[in-house]
Every structure is written in structure tokens, then in C-alpha cells.
Symmetry: C2
């Protein structure tokens, strides 16, 4: 197991790409822009999924499944939506192949051309609102609180594993409400569900806010988001929740008879997170030795590696190891005893460090005599000798501590890399030389935002929900501003 990762300092981007592949999370496939999510990466994704799914159901949502293909004409119905999504997409034009009588190769059968092309869903608002028209007649049919776990495709020219791939996995919630107020509350609730999940479960601190007009979802009235900061000082949008107003209800003619007897258009939200979260996870916690996983997300939380010469020693070590396995499992901790004889302990140490297993326990014959084991934690790389007696409780506490420590470490990093800029020079200096989040005044116009982006590659990540009113001047134009917004270069 030669790991030899490029360090973060040498080349952050290369470090990320290597780590994702070497830690067995994902790899590029033979299909341009599409990745293979390997079993170890998928096991982490399943943990994310299960916890999110639990939180969605706890807030009253149900899962359903809608078609992969969307007729081209559906996209035409919502004007801003088509601009945002229907352009870079996979288009199905035929439904049959045949043998070429000359070359004997299989070719597309020209006789099997579809009357109307089908788009592989880039997002499902159109097909879902086309369906909701059947589901909604009366106020009694509302709210509809539905989520879908699905694959989506957005044609991307420059792709990176997890962060930007043509096909990715995600969940998309689509809700329908009788009133504007209820829909806004739903959109805000789901942003809060995402934020709490990111912080408590993934140990990733996030800023909650709303997007500027330029960065809004195509078809939304308001886009709520959570923004995280990666170790290279670039921001990553980790989840979005959209208040869609009545745009899709009007486009797809979805109305209901209200309690007052009047027929009204339905109010909508949509919200989603994707396998991009896997990228955020890697880039928030990992180090030059490999992956670092918060215990909540680790498929293997504890690995036990025996140190031995000969079968007799292995047998003696195994007795204790198996007792520890049983004790930890009884405490709900996932544990692996790696007694493979085909690899040396040093190889195994490297392997589990690279894969981010939170705790490694090493047991040798001398430890047995003393009644201790060596416990190494992945986050700080510290080792200590702990008594075998009562080990379970200590490991359990340590896992809780590590989960908190990783969050605190990420939070400290974010605080250290959050700046205030009060002039254009200061702003440019920070963006160029320090990176991180920059709180600065902005005059509120899309033109100014666009110009700042062109000049510095920094965008407005969000207008933070907790922003205090503060009179100031736009860093670019000097025009008046009432609050600071958050700028950063972003993934």
C-alpha cells in the first residue's frame, strides 16, 4: 500500500483527486463525465441517505418516484426554467438499434426516431408538476410533501469526481401548498433540516442564507442555501431549498378549490442535496495522510489490527480481539477485526489511515501481558495505551468526542478564514492572497455582482439570514448598502 498522496500544500486539487481514488470512494468511468461510486464510497453515501431520509420522514415527507425521461415540450412551459436547464442535457432521440447490413456493427435505426425528443431529467419540477395536476383538486389534497431519491444528468464539460459529474445521485423534494406563507415556511424548514444535518451529522459548519438574483435556481422566487468553507478557502454550496411561488402551478395549470370556494393556483417548493456532499465531506476534514471521517459517517468506526509472529501469538491476540469486537458491537459500534495473514500490520495501518477509519486498535502479545491495547485516533493521529478492562465505554466516548472535535476544528478554520473588507483594495487582496469568506457591502444590483465576479472570480455565496442591518458603501461602486453579504470563490 504505497499511498504517497500529493499534499494539500503542494496542490490541493490534485490531493483531492488522488484521495478520492486511493481511498476507494469513486473513479472515473469509461463514459465521459460519469463516475463509478465504489463500495466504500457508496457505504458512506448510504449513511448520508439514511439519516437524511429519516429527517425528511420526521418532518412529514413521503418518498415517490417519477420518470427519468421528460418530453422536451415540458421544459418550454416555464420560461426561466428552460433557460437554466434545458440547454446542457442528454437528449434521447431514438428507441432502437439494428445491425448494419454492411459493416455488421450495431447502428441507430433511423426508422426508430421519436416523434418528440426526451430529455434525461436534469431536475424534475416539470414532470412532477405535470403529475400534481392529477393529484390536486381541493384544499383537502394539500399539502403534498414528496421527496424522490434519483439520478439526474446535466451535461458538464469539465468534471470532477463528486463535485461536478454529468450524472449524479441526489434527492429532490417537491411540495405543494395552499398558501404562500406555508410554502415559504416549508422552504425555510428544509434549509434548516439541511443545516442541522450538515453540522450535527457531517460535522460541517454552514452559513444559512438566501441567494442573490444571479445565483437563484431557474424558476425560483427565492433560493435558500447552506454554504460551507473548504480547506483551500473556497466555498461549496452544500444544499439549496427553493420557494417557487406559483410559477410551476401556472405553467402546468395546477389549481385547487380552497375552503372559501375559490379556485386558486398552488404554491410550491423544491429542495435538494446530492453526491456533491461527498466532496464537501472529503474537503472539510481530510488531511495529507488520507480521508478523515466523522464517526457518524464511517462505515467502519473501529478497526482492530493484531500484531503477532506465528499462529500461536495470533490465536492468543484473537481471543482478546474477539472479546473487544463483541463488546463494541453490543454498544452499537461498527468494528472490523482484520486478521488477514496476507498483509503486514504496517500495510494495514496505512490502509485504514487512508480510508479514514476513526479509531484503530492494535494488540500485540506484550499488550496482552499488561492487559492493555494501543488506541490511535484518526483525527489527531494521537495514540495512547488503554486498559482492556472497560474499553467499550472509553471507545464510545472517544467517538463522540471525535465527532465534536471535527466540527469544532472545521468551525475554527472557518472563523480564521472569515474576513471583513471595507474597500475594493482590501477585498481584492483578501480574495487573491488569503481566500475564505469575505463579508462586504454590495449595492444590491446584479450588474455589480457580475462585475465583481469578472474581476475577481468571487461570487456572492449568500445574503446571510442572520445579517445585521449595517449602513455601508458597496466595495465596488460606493453606492449605499444596508447589510454585508458573503463573497468567496466557490466550487
Amino acid at each position: 500500500m504505497a499511498k504517497h498522496l500529493t499534499t494539500r500544500k503542494q496542490d490541493y486539487s490534485k490531493w483531492y483527486n488522488e484521495l478520492v481514488v486511493k481511498a476507494d470512494l469513486a473513479q472515473n468511468s469509461g463514459v465521459r463525465g460519469s463516475m463509478v461510486i465504489k463500495p466504500y464510497g457508496y457505504a458512506i453515501w448510504e449513511k448520508l441517505q439514511q439519516e437524511l431520509d429519516r429527517r425528511f420522514k420526521e418532518t412529514g415527507h413521503e418518498n415517490a418516484y417519477f420518470p427519468l425521461f421528460i418530453p422536451k415540450s415540458y421544459f418550454n412551459k416555464e420560461a426561466s426554467h428552460v433557460e437554466g436547464f434545458a440547454k446542457e442535457c442528454a437528449v434521447v432521440t431514438h428507441y432502437r438499434l439494428k445491425n448494419d447490413p454492411v459493416s455488421k456493427d450495431i447502428i441507430v435505426d433511423p426508422d426508430a426516431k421519436l416523434e418528440e425528443e426526451l430529455i434525461v431529467r436534469p431536475t424534475s419540477e416539470t414532470i412532477i408538476w405535470d403529475t400534481y395536476r392529477d393529484w390536486i383538486q381541493s384544499y383537502r389534497d394539500l399539502p403534498i410533501l414528496v421527496n424522490q431519491w434519483a439520478n439526474v444528468v446535466r451535461w458538464e464539460m469539465r468534471t470532477r469526481l463528486f463535485l461536478r459529474t454529468s450524472e449524479f445521485l441526489w434527492q429532490e423534494g417537491h411540495t405543494a401548498h395552499a398558501t404562500e406563507q406555508e410554502a415559504i415556511e416549508e422552504a425555510e424548514q428544509m434549509m434548516n433540516v439541511y443545516a442541522d444535518f450538515a453540522e450535527k451529522f457531517m460535522a460541517i459548519p454552514v452559513i444559512k442564507g438566501v441567494k442573490s438574483v444571479n445565483e437563484r435556481f431557474a424558476g425560483a422566487i427565492e433560493t435558500y442555501c447552506i454554504e460551507a468553507l473548504m480547506q483551500d478557502g473556497k466555498a461549496l454550496q452544500a444544499g439549496t431549498s427553493h420557494f417557487l411561488g406559483q410559477n410551476f402551478a401556472k405553467a402546468f395549470d395546477v389549481k385547487f378549490q380552497d375552503q372559501d370556494g375559490k379556485v386558486k393556483h398552488v404554491w410550491a417548493t423544491s429542495w435538494g442535496v446530492s453526491t456533491r456532499l461527498m466532496g464537501a465531506l472529503v474537503m472539510t476534514h481530510s488531511d495529507d495522510n488520507g480521508l478523515v471521517l466523522p464517526p457518524n459517517l464511517a462505515p467502519i468506526q473501529v478497526v482492530i489490527v493484531p500484531i503477532y509472529k506465528g499462529m500461536e501469538e495470533l490465536e492468543r491476540v484473537s481471543v482478546v480481539a474477539n472479546e473487544i469486537v463483541a463488546e463494541l458491537r453490543a454498544l452499537g459500534i461498527s468494528v472490523k477485526f482484520d486478521n488477514r495473514d496476507t498483509y503486514k500490520p504496517g500495510w494495514k495501518f496505512n490502509e485504514y489511515e487512508l480510508k479514514g477509519v476513526p479509531i484503530r486498535i492494535a494488540i500485540g502479545p506484550r499488550d496482552l501481558e499488561k492487559g492493555v491495547v494501543e488506541v490511535a485516533r484518526r483525527d489527531t493521529l494521537e495514540k495512547e495505551s488503554l486498559a482492556t478492562q472497560g474499553l467499550g465505554g472509553k471507545i464510545k466516548n472517544l467517538l463522540t468526542q471525535m465527532q465534536q472535535n471535527l466540527y469544532q476544528k472545521a468551525l475554527d478554520f472557518r472563523e480564521e478564514n472569515t474576513h471583513r473588507a471595507d474597500s475594493w483594495e482590501e477585498f481584492v487582496d483578501i480574495i487573491e492572497n488569503k481566500a475564505g469568506f469575505v463579508y462586504a457591502h454590495w449595492d444590491g444590483t446584479p450588474e455589480t455582482e457580475e462585475e465583481i465576479k469578472t474581476k475577481t472570480k468571487a461570487t456572492i455565496r449568500c445574503i446571510p439570514l442572520d445579517a445585521k442591518k449595517e449602513i455601508g458603501k458597496c466595495i465596488l461602486t460606493g453606492k449605499p448598502s444596508e447589510r454585508r453579504v458573503v463573497f468567496a470563490r466557490a466550487y
Copy 2:
């Protein structure tokens, strides 16, 4: 809630279609051949998924995810596979749309034509074996035991909800082994996992067997299957497990260095079940009043309906209802107290009968005085009055009983509809007038099978694994045969 289902006797096919829609399981979408799985149907599918996933993991499998799109050329690599799958499929030819300068509509951008067309996966052997080439070098990398939950597309001209749709959901296991023997054992193991799942969890009795050459999976050496019998006497293939030999390893050049130092091709299996199981579920247990669900699969196992006049009575009933809810939940039973004031009890009775909720508890003011509740079971439609005292334990037992009863009922039905035919006349008479499974002798040739199919629409469902050696004569040709095989008309 007007249910008015067509009865099974009137028109079995119509009954099925109506039931699937009226019980809120699924509906057709605006996209030809693609269905929408509604929340209630999806909740049942989730229960199937979770239990299957648990059984896969218990037998050592891990999940992963492979690309939706497969380059056309991949299909060319395995000759029989391309014949079976690459023909009726969705073909992606372009990756961009644009505004038509004249009509202003969005049209396919002719400049964005793919160099090589992409096929939306009908099954993933090709893309997965293309990936396994990277994963496998040594015997130490084997076995690979991977499963994928995914959507697949096979272009279908005549579609039916769950039974045959262009897009469907499924799982596909793909394993790689060092020896032929190990791969055969894996394929057999997974057939057994499917059979046990169908019988114990879904209460659907199945025959285990192997397919004849005509019915084999395209690219397989042997296809194992489980076959179930529907209430109209037609068979339904509920799951298949394939021993693929070295076909895909050779097509994609996947080799390993064995312990003896020699380089060899890898041995393969694949196995899958799909949302088709939802169709099998509906058609095995349901009746003219609607869906009947085995308790294991019911999203709501018990519903409590209050019978009351005025709020004061509702309050008194609710006290007892809430106690029962708490008691049942503590026993791990999913229960819903439907206290909606917007619907009458009769409407609710119909609704839950239609949706197959296993147990309905009705509570009125008179019941309160007597300390009893009315318990109705969905499978037999029987009602009885039970003491509120100790109700939880009784309900739990009743659910277990109902699960067993549904299996026994389906097994009895199958036995009654399983026949032996010893002459062509007898065979045709049974197929035409009785339906069901027919055990008959066959000479073992594809030609005879094909002729029987043309004449009677009956196919060989399988050569049962438990078939005893029995000398006989083929019902069509009179040629010698060593065992009976199972014929039926099938979905």
C-alpha cells in the same frame, strides 16, 4: 370514495389495472411507457428494498453505483448479449438543446451530436465488467460481491404498470469469482435468497428452477429463476440469477493471477429483481374489494377508525384510541389513528380496505362502555369484538397469523392449479380451459419448445430443481424425456 372495482371474474386484467391506480400504488405518466410510483406504492417498495438489502448484506454483498449511460460499442463485445438487449433501448445522440431562431421553440442542437451514441442501461453487465478490469489483478481481489439499486430502461411497446414498463427500478447483483464452482454456488445462493424472501416476506410461494435455453438471459450459461402463480392461472417470473461463465470476463478482458501463478479469466454471476415484484404482490393476494397486503409489507399495519357523534364522543374515543396506538407502537407495529373529521367512517372503511391495511380497529362509545373494540382483518374480512385489555398481544399474534394465512392460501391456490399432462390433447385442454402450472414431458429441444409456444402461448417456466427422474414421452413429439418441466402461460 367510490371504489367500484371491476371484479376479477369479470376481467382480471382490468381489475389489476384499476386496483393499482385506485389503491394509489402507481399511475401512467405523460411519458410513454414510464410510470409514476405514488407515495403509498413507493412505501411498499421501500419495505421490499430494505429487507432484500439486509439479506444481500447478510450474505456478504456491498452496494455500489455505476453509470446510467453505456457507450454503444460496449454492447458489441458480448455477442449474445447484444442480441438480447441492445435492440429495444433508449439512445442518447445529442447533449444540447438550443432556441430555434425562427420558431423560438427549443430544438436539438445539431452541432451537439455525440461521437458515439450512449445507451440508457437496460442492464449493466457491460459497464460493470469494463470497470472490474481495473479492480481485479490477483486472486486476493476476489470474490467481488457487488449489488446496485438502479433504474433501467427497456423500450416496451405494450406496457402495464409494474409488470412491464419502459423504465423500471431494480437491483442488479454482479459478482466475480476465481473458480467456476464458486460462481455457480453464488448464483444458486441468490436464487435461494430470492425464494426465501418471496415466501417468508411476501407470502408468495415459488418454484425454483433453471430456464430452458430459449428463456435464458442473453449472455448466461445458466439462468436460475423463481416462478410464481397468479390468481388468473398465469405464471410470473419473480426473480432470476445467472451463472455467466467467463463470457463477460473474456469480452472485457478481465483476468487475474491465481495462487498457482497462472493468469486466468474471472467467473461471473448476475442476479436481479425489480418493481415487477409489486405486480406479483398485487396479483397474488388481492381481492375484489381491493389490495390485500401481507403484514410484513404494509406501510400501515393497523388503522383505528373512531365512530362518534360530536366532539365530546370523539374525545372519549380518542383517549382509548391513543392508548392503543401507544401500546401497538411499543410492540413495533405501525399504526394510524384516522381522526379526520372531513370523512365519514364508512368512507374510511372502504379506503383502508382498498389499500389493504391488514387490521382495522373501530371504536365507538358503546364499545367504550363494554371495554371492547371491533377488530376486522383484511385477509378474511372477518370481524370480532376484542377486549381492550391485552389487545396489543392479540393484534401482534393476529398479524403473524395473517402473514402465514396469506402464504398458505396462495400455496393452496397453486396446488389446486398445478396439473400433470401426459398427452398433447390433455395439455392443450388444461392450458386453454384451466390454466395454472402444467408438469409435462418435453424432448429437451428449443424447436419443440418454440412450437408448443406458437400453438398454445405456453412456455417452459422452468426445469424445477426438485424434479425427479421420470422416464416419459414428450407431449408434442413423443420423443423420450427424463423429467417433467413446468409449462404455463406467463406475464
